[in-house]
């Protein structure tokens, strides 16, 4: 297939459809994934292509959706369970954290749980406190779970294809604000290595480390910093949070002496906190400033678009933070 211009949503669908074509053991299950086509349309028409035995509409039973995927993965299928909103993670947490994540270890390595849990999170649709969260920190806090969060159209496809080939459970968190984003996808190009961060922008003064939608905020902020303030910032897209690639980032931070980590999730005990701790430890002797966290405020998300927008990092906040670092 030649390279194509497509959307994040269609890239995800293409990944599912190619995987299902290639491997009869790949099945989808979740609320509204079949006839409805997915709450955000990712699985649209797949039921017509692959049938109701492989694209399975479920009752509203998040815990059993994940538990069913666990049992299916242990007995020969490659299930892709969909959790409509990451905010429902709490409903599934026993099956995810106590079962999927620990089965390989508890059972002494007898078997893995090769399942993918697709979900989406983040702000941007005025969806309120229970439909706008960024809960990747919950997942990252659980050994045994891999965690991928694509920021680009290309990664939406390639990371999902890779997730479907992993031997361990992968939580795959899409961003609801990116589904309509357009970009170039070359489905047949060799993908970047699973678990490796991508340096999307070089910069000698400051290293900005982030993932998912904040990558785009960081890139926009970096352009402003360059053009208006003469600050040359690198931008790194982590792509996966488990595995977490500090190797790629360390030399950049050592060279620049300054690092900012950005996460849409709340700050306390969050992904940004972990990244800041690691970079501070790893690069301590090279740092001119503390590694700075720019993260979601420690508050719930409001329905008000004004309050919602400013509850999480914005390009303006990223620029402002960088300017304070150089003040």
């Amino acid at each position: 297939m030649p390279a194509l211009e497509t959307t994040y949503r269609d890239a995800l669908r293409l990944a599912l459809s190619e995987a299902m074509d290639a491997d009869d053991s790949v099945i989808l299950l979740g609320e509204e994934v079949g006839r409805y086509g997915g709450a955000y349309g990712v699985t649209k028409d797949l039921i017509a292509e692959f049938g109701a035995e492989r694209v399975i509409d479920t009752p509203i039973s998040e815990a059993a959706i994940v538990g069913t995927a666990v049992g299916a993965a242990m007995t020969g299928l490659r299930p892709v369970a969909e959790l409509m909103y990451v905010d429902f993670l709490g409903m599934t947490m026993d099956q995810l954290a106590n079962q999927a994540a620990k089965i390989r270890y508890m059972f002494g390595g007898q078997i893995g749980v090769p399942m993918v849990l697709r979900t989406q999170g983040g702000t941007g649709r005025s969806a309120g406190a229970q439909h706008s969260q960024s809960l990747e920190g919950y997942v990252m806090h659980t050994p045994g779970l891999r965690l991928a969060m694509p920021a680009t159209v290309s990664d939406a496809f390639h990371l999902l294809r890779q997730a479907l080939a992993r031997p361990d459970p992968v939580v795959f968190i899409e961003h609801k604000g990116l589904y309509t984003m357009k970009g170039t996808l070359d489905p047949d190009a060799p993908p970047a290595d699973w678990g490796r961060a991508a340096v999307l922008r070089e910069g000698a003064d400051l290293v900005i480390v982030t993932y998912s939608r904040q990558v785009h905020h960081a890139l926009a902020a970096a352009d402003t910093l360059q053009s208006e303030h003469g600050v040359n910032a690198a931008v790194v897209d982590l792509r996966t949070l488990n595995p977490l690639d500090v190797e790629t980032i360390r030399p950049l931070v050592e060279a620049a002496g300054r690092a900012m980590v950005i996460s849409e999730g709340v700050m306390t005990c969050g992904v940004a906190a972990e990244l800041a701790a690691r970079l501070s430890e790893e690069c301590f002797d090279f740092l001119e400033d503390p590694v700075v966290r720019v993260a979601g405020e420690d508050i719930p998300i409001s329905v008000s678009p004004l309050l919602e927008t400013h509850s999480v990092p914005t390009p303006a906040l990223i620029v402002e933070t960088a300017r304070k670092m150089f003040a």
Partner: protein
Amino acid sequence: MKNSTLPQLYEEMRRVRTFEERVGELFVRGQSAGSMLHLSIGEESAAVGVCAAMREGDTFTTHHRGHGIFLARGADPNRMMAEIAGKDSGYCHGKGGSMHIADMGLGHLGANAIVGGGIPAVVGAGLSARHAQSGAVSVAFFGDGATGQGILYESMNMAALWKLPVMFVCINNQYGMGTRIDQATANPNLHERAAAFGLAARTVDGLNVEDVVDAAVELMEGARAGTPAFLAVDCYRFYGHARKDKSPYRAEAEEEEGRKKDPVLHARARLVESGLMSEADADALDARVAAEMDDSIGYAVAGEEPQMASMFRDVYDPTEPEPEPVRTRLDRVLAQG
């Protein structure tokens, strides 16, 4: 169907009973690794009776009181005892213990220490069986305590909706830890709930193991053909919730009455009365089983501890890097400058 004559059923139940007695002794001697040990004494007919209806290739999950079920499915008592003792020679190399024992070779998808936690896995295994057209049934074993968990109802609903080859077996020993079933629900007729979801459902008295076998065979063959099922087996938990629990929450008179409902002694009496086995032959069988289980204690005690290096193994697939130990990280980080 294997192990379904009364002498075979008795022998299997005696093996479960004696295993549990021995594992209790291991615990008292301080040679069991876990701080928690849940014995199934009094519940043998549920494990043995239902497992007699299972076939090779069938899969199952159990609750935390599942030694008897695993044994009845063909587990090696040596490796079970070693696992409970936390030894490398155990089924899970000492990482799982009593409450997380599993063996994929025997279709044991895992014991579970979360009440109800292992139930939905059988729905997934049912999907796999149908996808592969393997003819296998997947059976979830759990206690009456799990009937308070929402995951049971989500799972039964899905199994019924999709007509999966799945069976739910509730071993109703009357107690969720210290709470008697009538203190936990206004309607203790547990099979009625399953019937409401569209499952073939019934309750059987666990005193007579052959009654359990009959009920299990009928329901399991139905499940195999696409009518998922629920079976509650009524029995009595002879001892406390865990090994150190002396059950102060229940009256001695109740315990005495409950222990009269002994499926092992009941089967033995029937064997002797019916002339299928002499008293002397039954004694000899009991002694043979006792020797087998004594040996398994010896095997467990003699087993090696796991290697320290195994601590970081099997968090992820063996082809992936292991997590970095704290000391390694500190040495690396503090070696700077």
